[in-house]
């Protein structure tokens, strides 16, 4: 059924059809996707957006000021109200600085998703951003999540997995999110120095990042690593830090920039997954990451996640196997893996196999109705109301990717209420009868066509189109 190809290409692989998109795709869904792979990386540039380094350097300065004001407030002889007020105001300064950065990034990302003519690549960007999730419920990350995606993810979405992995794990946002900038080798120079001075502070490793790299970023939870591998790998990446972050032995370096601190690095050779890695300072961690990127478990795990995202909640094993072979055979060349995905027959047989996430639902609504994206809070609000605040999965595992995680009763009601609010806002400025076949193509059911056609008002017609079962899925 070739007619269905355009609807699947635009809604499953893309971000939901814009009016006219299905006609442009015609019956060449695969060609349309393939063409999107051929252009350059999906950069998102906007002179208003700051780099991570800039944000972090500024945040460091602010935190120093806050500390200084708090100290002077505590030091005031009469615990004067003025001092306390200053300290309280200073504590607000950091969120006040970070919040507008977060909102600008949310706006830019939504605008890119709504306007893009390469929606497949934008979906892949979101997929990888979620695979390597950071979460803005950790305060500093609200200023870094957006720039992290632009700096570490976007340049490598059409590149090699190994480079993507290295860019992510050496990015300040990830190091901060999973605490690695503070992790210290127990026999490092810094630790020994403190010990000699009989300092009460014990320095040591924090295994958070090492564990999540193995469990969530590369091998996957059943991928064949042990607690000993986690501990050894955590030692390998001690010293992977950020300029200006931390205190005591950790300060120094160019503020906000990735920095390898040899004095924090655990010396010596280490064994990870049965392979011995000679002590090479920073290079030791890079070597482990390169090997992890090429590990067969990584190929399987990435293949499964891609197949789950693009084919079905529980994808057919043969499709997963094919993607894994493409991954391994190409040495982690991502476009090769995407081509194997596009060529998977399984991705094209069941038109509405995936239940949209709230984010998918909102973006496809904006695209389908060609809604303008207002800057700032209005760009974030629908994501909060529908239950998927941008870059706030609350966990390094990212947002889940199965129907059961998103199809709750209350969640459905929120979508319907949003559809209703949009209908009322737009009134007769959109013609849902004319839009329905343009957005849903071959997926449009007779029941939806009829419901939209017989709606009591243009506003209600818009609501019914967005609430339709085939608009809830992709």
């Amino acid at each position: 059924m070739r007619e269905g190809f355009s609807a699947i290409a635009a809604n499953r692989f893309g971000l939901g059809a814009r009016p006219g998109e299905l006609a442009a795709i015609a019956d060449d869904g695969r060609d349309w996707l393939e063409a999107q792979l051929r252009a350059g990386p999906p950069v998102l540039s906007d002179p208003q957006l700051r780099s991570s380094q800039e944000t972090l350097a500024q945040a460091q300065k602010l935190r120093q000021e806050i500390r200084a004001q708090r100290k002077s407030a505590e030091g005031a002889t009469a615990p004067g109200k003025a001092g306390a007020d200053d300290a309280a105001a200073a504590a607000q300064a950091l969120p006040q600085f970070l919040r507008p950065i977060y909102l600008s990034e949310v706006t830019a990302r939504l605008r890119a998703a709504v306007a893009t003519e390469r929606p497949f690549i934008e979906r892949l960007t979101q997929f990888w951003g979620n695979h390597f999730a950071v979460s803005v419920d950790k305060q500093l990350l609200s200023g870094l999540a957006g720039s992290f995606e632009r700096e570490a993810i976007r340049p490598h979405v059409l590149g090699n997995f190994s480079d993507l992995l290295l860019a992510v794990e050496t990015h300040a946002a990830m190091l901060l999110y999973l605490d690695n900038h503070l992790s210290v080798g127990p026999h490092s120079q810094a630790a020994l120095r403190l010990e000699r001075r009989a300092h009460p502070r014990r320095l040591g490793i924090n295994e958070n990042l090492a564990r999540e790299i193995l469990e969530l970023h590369t091998l996957g939870v059943g991928g064949g690593y042990t607690q000993a591998d986690v501990t050894a790998f955590a030692e390998v990446i001690t010293g992977w830090s950020i300029g200006g972050e931390g205190g005591g032995p950790f300060v120094g370096g160019e503020p906000g920039k990735f920095l390898f601190r040899p004095e924090l690095h655990e010396p010596g050779a280490k064994r990870v997954l049965g392979t011995a890695y000679a002590d090479g300072g920073y290079g030791q961690g890079v070597a482990v990451l390169r090997d992890l990127a090429g590990h067969p478990s990584t190929a399987r795990f990435i293949a499964l996640k891609l197949a789950r995202h693009f084919i079905a909640d529980d994808p057919p094993p043969q499709a997963v196997g094919r993607l894994a072979r493409a991954f391994t055979g190409s040495g982690g060349d991502l476009p090769t893996v995407y081509r194997a995905l596009i060529d998977s027959r399984e991705a094209w047989v069941q038109p509405l196999a995936k239940y949209k996430t709230p984010s998918d639902y909102i973006i496809s609504g904006f695209r389908g109705l060609t809604l303008p994206v207002e800057a700032g809070q209005p760009a974030l609000t629908p994501f909060g109301v529908l239950g998927q605040r941008v870059w706030e999965p609350g966990s390094p595992a990212g947002w889940p990717d199965r129907s059961a995680d998103w199809d709750g009763a209350s969640a459905l009601m929120k979508r319907i209420e949003w559809a209703d609010a949009l209908g009322q806002r737009l009134g007769n400025r959109r013609d849902a009868v004319q839009l329905a076949p343009q957005l849903l193509g071959a997926n449009l059911s007779a029941a939806t066509r009829s419901a939209v056609a017989h709606a009591a008002s243009a506003a209600q017609a818009v609501t019914l189109l967005l609430a339709a079962p085939e608009f809830m899925r992709r």
């Binding site: 504590a91 969120p95 979460s135 419920d137 950790k138 305060q139 999973l178 605490d179 503070l182 992790s183 210290v184 127990p186 014990r202 040591g204 490793i205 924090n206 295994e207 958070n208 564990r211 469990e215 939870v221 607690q227 986690v230 909060g384 109301v385 529908l386 239950g387 998927q388 605040r389 609350g394 966990s395 595992a397 990212g398 889940p400 129907s403 059961a404 995680d405 199809d407 709750g408 009763a409 209350s410 969640a411 459905l412 009601m413 929120k414 319907i416 209420e417 949003w418 209703d420 609010a421 029941a447 419901a451 709606a455 209600q460 609501t463 019914l464 609430a467 339709a468 079962p469 809830m472």
Partner: protein, 421 residues
Amino acid sequence: MQRREFLNFGTLLAGGALLTSRVAFARADERRARLVLIIMRGALDGLAAVPPHGDRDYAALRGEFALRAPGEAGGALPLDGFFGLHPSLAFLQQCYAARELTVLHALASPYRERSHFDGQDVLENGSPRAHALATGWLNRALAQAPGPSSREAGVALGQNVPLVMRGPAEVTSWSASKLGALDEDTLARITDLYAADPLLSVRLADALAANAIASADGAGSLAALAPDTAVRDTSAAGVSQPARPAQANGARYAQVVRAAAGFLRQEAGPRVAMFDTTGWDTHANEGAAQGQLAGRLSALDSGLATLKQELGPVWSDTAVLLVTEFGRTAAINGTRGTDHGTATVALLVGGAVAGGRVIADWPGLSARALYQGRDLQPTLDLRSVLKGVLQEHLLVPPRELEHTVFPDSRTARPLTGLVRT
């Protein structure tokens, strides 16, 4: 000093079980037992929430972050002389004194690895293996529980239903709405449009049922609840670290517990409510008597106090169970926090709880006693606690507990006597 309370494992003899459930049947109609399940996602540090200050190895493991004995500055709140409660848990300590709190320590689910996400899956699916089942033990228990059945047996406070509450029994989810209600005509047309869709038709009906219950709640009017950021969707495992300012913490759970109480205090409402809490994954700068974890615990404690207040007389029929996927390392790590561990605590609180006890077969914290040399050794299976509560509180037949609710759980015998009978 009473550090070991005898574990009261109930009999599995068919006759005994039969007798229990008959007696229980009569009680069910009178008491209308309520259960609140709170999942603490991210792995709660049990050695900080309920510090064993009497253990001779505890202080050395925790160093400057060890909580002091009750009576000392910043010390723990007294429990039984060996264990204390974190100083942020003042309301829970009152419950303990009123014999309405039971602490279960050195407890773990059957999961023995250290992934949050698999750990939570095992915690919720009720089998010994991650991803072995697509339904949760709480839902399967509800499907087998006797007593008056309303359309919705349980409610998840939040937009979606977490795994633990998914399954054959009819349950719903509810969260306050920011957007306006739909007019009846539009709703009727959408209902028609969903008629042929097996998933959406059920979900919409569940949502409407929950809204009907919510609007039937008079005094505390659920409908008037403002949308709550704490009731955000947490179907994803919430494990990242907190960032919200401490002063906002006190009210963090106020809305969600008001919503839970609003459902539970209604005659025709669900008997079981659940919600998630997040932010327990304290890898760095965990704090001690004060600090990051203290703020979280304090918010939870005041949330529970609000729950009691909002439930009013229904509190006496209520058991609140707080569980987490696993514990944390016994020692402090290199970044003043704790990494993923094994055994931890569960808390059972409420008017229906036979409390005032710490139940623990304490394994000790010496280097030799630690699990794999790093974690508190589990000596009590979480499923024993769950079975005991489900059997004696919700009156789920023991046979069903063994077969459908907790498959492959023969070694976890029900721990009885946890609720007042």
